[in-house]
């Protein structure tokens, strides 16, 4: 009985994963081939909705994370008289980990759910069927511009969040906690390198891809009626959230391994 249930559930999960992979593969195919005039026109509108409108909320969260890191680290570092080093630690953690992950989580909530709700409603009201009946691939018309917009805007949003995180950390450390500004910046600069910035942005692109493809996939495959759309939105957020955290672990491991492979003698920053 238990084995049967387990077998059935894992078969279903594998089937869904296969379905999702085919869906994502088609999006990549259309992105490479060019999705046509209609989808291209939608790209800017989606970039505005996904990117520009998310910027304020992402920046505010970034600033507060920077400030809270300063508050938590200051007493610990002060014990060893190393409070001027907190700039480096704050900036590296913000740029490498917290900025991309937090931006992705915010976007999964703000945009992932909305994408699923919008496409799910289109599915329920037969608009997606109408596209297919008119010989237009709905993945090309609807999913491709949304995924492309998310992929494009995620690094920009992450940069916004990072900048405010750095500013928040600086404000708290230097203005409120009176750490020496010159030493703070020198240490912060020494801790930072191009690879750190690069790995944060690469991760954010993967997160953007995951959020948008999961959001679109769940919308395209939602159940019937308002309840179906609601359930799809919840599933979409949960799946994106888990995907972000799991991907973050593997990407961090991979990017660090690549770093040691290229520069075997350099010390790891974090």
């Amino acid at each position: 009985m238990f084995v049967e249930t387990l077998g059935r559930k894992s078969t279903k999960a594998l089937e869904e994963l296969g379905d999702y992979s085919r869906f994502a593969g088609r999006i990549v195919y259309w992105m490479a081939r060019g999705p046509g005039k209609f989808a291209r026109r939608q790209l800017m509108q989606q970039a505005y909705e996904i990117g520009t409108l998310s910027m304020p909320v992402v920046m505010v969260t970034g600033a507060f994370i920077g400030m809270v890191l300063a508050i938590e680290m200051y007493p610990e570092f002060r014990t060893f008289g190393m409070e001027t080093h907190i700039g480096g630690v704050i900036n590296v953690s913000v740029i490498k980990q917290i900025g991309p992950v937090l931006t992705a989580v915010m976007l999964a909530g703000r945009v992932g759910g909305a994408l699923t709700a919008e496409l799910g409603t289109m599915k329920v009201t037969e608009q997606i069927d109408a596209l297919r009946a008119m010989a237009s691939d709905p993945i090309r018309i609807l999913a491709t511009p949304r995924v492309a917009a998310c992929l494009m805007m995620m690094p920009a949003l992450t940069i916004g969040s990072d900048l405010l995180g750095i500013a928040g950390g600086y404000f708290m450390s230097v203005t409120v906690l009176h750490v020496d500004a010159g030493d703070y910046w020198v240490n912060a600069r020494n801790a930072m390198d191009n690879y750190t910035v690069f790995s944060g942005l690469i991760k954010s692109m993967f997160f953007g891809l995951a959020i948008a493809t999961i959001g679109c996939y769940k919308g395209f495959n939602c159940g019937s009626g308002a309840q179906g759309v609601g359930r799809a939105c919840t599933e979409s957020f949960v799946a994106s959230f888990v995907a972000i955290l799991v991907m973050n672990f593997f990407l961090a491991k991979m990017l660090n391994d690549i770093f040691t492979m290229i520069w075997p003698n350099a010390g790891m920053t974090l």
Partner: protein
């Protein structure tokens, strides 16, 4: 004197052979056989849930049969891939039950959508075609409106204008008059007749509105439990000897249903009065 050769019957435009379709344990189409001739106006009637809409969706590849075959102009189409379906779909116009207009596009852009996607028209030509199609459905003034600002009947007419934008050979209507008052429903019926006459299309109308069926159909087919149980002209249906057909045409509940209702109300009274 030579005897004139006997004309063979025209090859059917669409042929469904022993089509089966089930959703989980629910069997919807159960060995359905149907032929549609070019330029005919076929109406498929039957109670709700007998697979009428499912049948239409099979014709444009929105659903695939579990078993059986579907032919369009002699070519088997049910096993095509999604990409291979696209050229076939361009022969069809599909009017969805609720219209299925794109909410985010204006009426003009909705009708222009298939033209921009599949045509090689300039924007000026597209505007002309959109105007002509809107004039055909009598809604020229709504071009700039959003679908949300239209009434149910208007939405269906705009959706019809979109369905015929690329001058399809076959127009499929999924419950075109459902949810409309009798006058608006009649406007849609007139429109179906007008398109039939002016564009020489083949129409397949799925409905359970018998007034509409008698008005627009030159052949009727009745579906029950996923099978065709009767086919004939509107007059054949009016004078059918099959009780199932006649009951549906006249809108009468079956004796079993009436008995079940009486039993239910009797039980309810017994419960209210209490035991003894």
């Amino acid at each position: 004197m030579t005897t004139p050769a006997i004309q063979p019957p025209p090859a059917p435009l669409i042929r469904l052979h022993e089509v089966h379709k089930a959703f989980g344990s629910l069997v919807v189409l159960n060995g359905l056989n149907l032929e549609v001739q070019p330029h005919e106006s076929l109406v498929v009637v039957g109670p709700s849930g007998t697979g009428k809409s499912v049948l239409l969706k099979h014709l444009v590849g929105l659903l695939r049969p579990d078993a059986g075959a579907i032919y369009f102009k002699g070519t088997r189409i049910d096993q095509l891939t999604e990409q291979e379906w696209d050229p076939i779909r361009r022969h069809f116009g599909f009017l969805f039950q609720m219209g299925a207009l794109f909410d985010s596009l204006s009426v003009h852009d909705n009708i222009a959508f298939p033209l921009r996607e599949h045509g090689t028209f300039s924007e000026a030509e597209i505007s002309d075609i959109v105007c002509a199609k809107l004039r055909m459905v009598g809604l020229e003034s709504t071009a700039k409106k959003m679908p949300g600002d239209l009434s149910g009947g208007q939405k269906k007419r705009v959706a019809l204008a979109r369905a015929i934008a690329l001058d399809p050979e076959v127009v499929l209507y999924d419950e075109p008059t459902t949810g409309l008052d009798p006058i608006r429903a009649d406007v849609i019926n007139e429109l179906i007749l007008k398109l039939q006459e002016e564009l020489q299309v083949t129409s397949i109308v799925v409905t359970h509105d018998m007034a509409s069926a008698f008005k627009v159909g030159n052949r009727l087919v009745m579906l029950l439990e996923g099978k065709v149980i009767a086919t004939g002209t509107p007059d054949d249906f009016r004078h059918s000897t099959d009780d199932r057909v006649l009951r549906f045409v006249q809108g009468r509940a079956s004796p079993e249903d009436l008995q079940a209702l009486q039993r239910a109300s009797h039980d309810a009274q017994t419960i209210q009065r209490g035991p003894g």
